[in-house]
């Protein structure tokens, strides 16, 4: 069962940056771009596990803070010339409130 978890107001996530959520499945990066679109991906870069929540966000891309891999947030894939995937999670933004969809957690 997927549960929608309230994360709070979008204002708590810096635009063009991110925060993270601690979950039983590990940390999830919550990233916000210049158009206030919010993305959720596993907070581990496919390269060497860098925390993506600390990276630069621009458009649909996050730049990993450790070695600057670029991750496409829509596909959850590293962009050329690199290879690798991150798991993405569903996110909804309604009335400035951010919701994260997670499997297997208490509501």
């Amino acid at each position: 069962m997927m549960e929608w978890l309230a994360l709070g107001s979008i204002a708590e996530i810096p635009a063009l940056g991110g925060r993270y959520v601690d979950t039983p499945q590990g940390q999830i990066a919550i990233l916000r771009n210049e158009n206030d679109e919010v993305f959720a991906v596993s907070n581990r870069c496919p390269h060497r596990g860098g925390p993506l929540s600390e990276g630069f966000v621009s458009g649909k891309t996050v730049f990993c803070p450790l070695h600057n891999w670029q991750i496409d947030l829509e596909k959850g894939e590293a962009m050329a010339p690199d290879h690798g995937c991150v798991k993405s999670f569903p996110v909804r933004v309604e009335d400035q409130q951010v919701w994260l969809g997670l499997e297997g957690v208490a509501p």
Binding site: D22, N68, P81
Partner: protein, 817 residues
Amino acid sequence: MMNPVAVQHRKARLVVVGNGMAGIRAVEELLKMAPELYEITVFGDEPHPNYNRILLTPVLAGEMALEETILNPLDWYAEHGITLHTGSRVTAIDRVKRQVLTEDGYSAPYDRLLLATGAAATIAPIPGNHLPGVLRYRDMSDVEQLTRSSELGGEAVVIGGGLLGLEVAHGLRARGMGVTVVHRRAWPLDKQLDARGGALLQKAMEDRGVRFLLGKESAEILGDTHVTGLRFADDSEISADVLVMTIGIKPRIAIAQAAGLQCETGILVNDTLQTYDPRIYAVGECVQHRGQTYGLVAPLFEQAKVAANHLAEYGRMRYQGSVTSTKLKVTGIELFSAGDFMGGEGYEEVTLLDGSQGIYKKVILQDNKVVGGLLYGDTSIGPWLFQLMRDGTDVSAFRDNIVFGETHLGDSGHAGENQASRLADGAEICGCNGVAKGSIVRAIREQGLFTLEKVRKCTKASASCGSCTGLVEQLLASTLGGFYDSSPQKKALCGCTDFSHQEIRDAIIQQKLLSVRQTFACLDWRHPGGCATCRPAVNYYVRTAWPAEGLDDAQSRFINERAHANIQKDGTYSVIPRIYGGVTSPAELKRIAEVAERHNVPMVKFTGGQRLDLLGVKKEDLPQIWAELGMPSGHAYGKALRTVKSCVGTEFCRFGVQDSTRLAIELERRLERMWAPHKVKLAVSGCPRNCSESTIKDFGIIGVDSGWELYVGGNGGMKVRAADLLCKVKTHEEVLEMAKAFLQMYREDAQYLERTAPWVERVGLDHIQAVVVGDRESRQQLAARMDFALSQEKDPWAEAVSGRLDIHAAPLRRVPA
């Protein structure tokens, strides 16, 4: 018997078929050697005098006017007594009567014939390939047609992702069309790039709005009266208003073939560029020599030289084939490729990949010799590499550093500006025309050349594709010294903009741009969010220009500078408190020890800069640790003043002649919180034994009997550089003022991420001395600006502890299992 001159009293007649780059170059070479030997007639089926085909791309992109591409104006032909027939196609060669016949019924007798018919664009043999709207990219009329079509807007599809395909795509995009490049292989430019380089190029082109469809086989061009689209072998389709074919070229050999001259792909020629009929020579893209055809001007110009030598009856030179290198002429994309760039078994590779700067370099070696290479993003070492490859130089002595070029200084920055002056005299600068450095320098000196145009005229260097313009300008600058005033070569900050660092800085100052966002908006950034390269740079430029009003945007700071701690490989952080001059006290050490114990800090270590480092701290714990330490931030994480190292000095050392410790503490107090283009390290030694290693610091100070010696631009790290002596002063106050002035000049002038070592190399010690040492007023102003900037900075740890600064230490939410 073959001598055209001996038995005849009239001049021998030379007929040239093809009024293009190779043919006319051969005529030029011939006129240099034997101006009176022939009566020359030239036939060309284009309506123009000879122009520079290579420059069609800048013309199409709207960066250059058609007229600027003309190499030989009509006057030139007249001056040299050459009869020119433009718009006139030769349809047959009568080898028995020794004459050529044209389409319009004209005939011209020859004693020698030179074929230089070039090549034509290949058209794919698929249905619909003759529909209106299917265009080629070969000559001026194609460019005129493409320009006209682009005025209607709409979608262009380019079939073929090679050099020409990408250039035409760039041009049409610049004219406002939507452009898709369709390519058979998995990455564009597969003949010049490996997969990784191809991916970088694709991304850079995509950033400019060009789309790619890769691994696609075209099957049919759609449309009844005009192109409407393209269908692929997998039955998918794409719509198109214009379709350009750039899948290759084929030598124009029809008239040669019909005349019975031996041809395969091209017209066969020997090492003297003679065809099967020894009266008939051929040069250019139409020929095949030792099994090889060429599609670049450099080899064709070599051929032209040899053919001219024989036509002039010198009979000395032989053409033995060419090694070629390529460049792409898309503004803002630098790419160089030569030889075998793929490597594989039996080869060794040296590579460098810097994704953040978009730089990729790969050199292929075999038996310690360069056999190929590709450079993407920074091609400054291209000419040198190409030279090593052609000379077969043994590179074992410097193979590990080969990707950094002949000179490599400083652990950041590229000393590209000085590249040319360090090349050997024999090194080739202009690949198109084969002009070596020595001949350019000689021409500048002996003929008193002052401008790029003059050098182009006299040496031909940089006169063809223009890629070496930067190097030629460097040679002008280094040969003429202060006389040559060029605006610096323009290099875009990153893929988000075409503006250079300097242009952006100027705009921030002139238009009073007070934030990264405002700068991006005002300068039409391609991505409103920028990227990891431009955001920190622009934020730095805003803050330096406007220390009081400019917004310091946390999201435009690297994570270290946002969290005010160094991120480690496992995502934990390190905490390095400020310990001025490296002098601490038992009480302070106790406090640090207690904090480390209380928080189970996994490692406590002395840094290379005489400070204490608490390693392995979780982000969540940072504010608490800072609060308990009660010490200011050491900025060990920033592009900022790091430490001022000290030695023991007169207080205790038996050799000391100056109080180095006190000066170090004073300097660190006065300069702390200084942000800079890159990290800045200082050191003070109390005597010339130099125990704190002042001569490898950005600003180093050495005590001597009479006062202090100040050194600048030193560097330890990856590339060691000994600092230069800036000046000698007497008092602490003077040291402080010089330090502030020098560092402020560096802050205002250096590019973001350029350390002092390459910066000093670039702008020159003389210039810095003139501004900082020689001019008291400018020194004081610089120091005052530094003081003002520093007065605006607060200690970030204290800010975070008091709650005025949020580093987002805690997670947004914790979800229980």
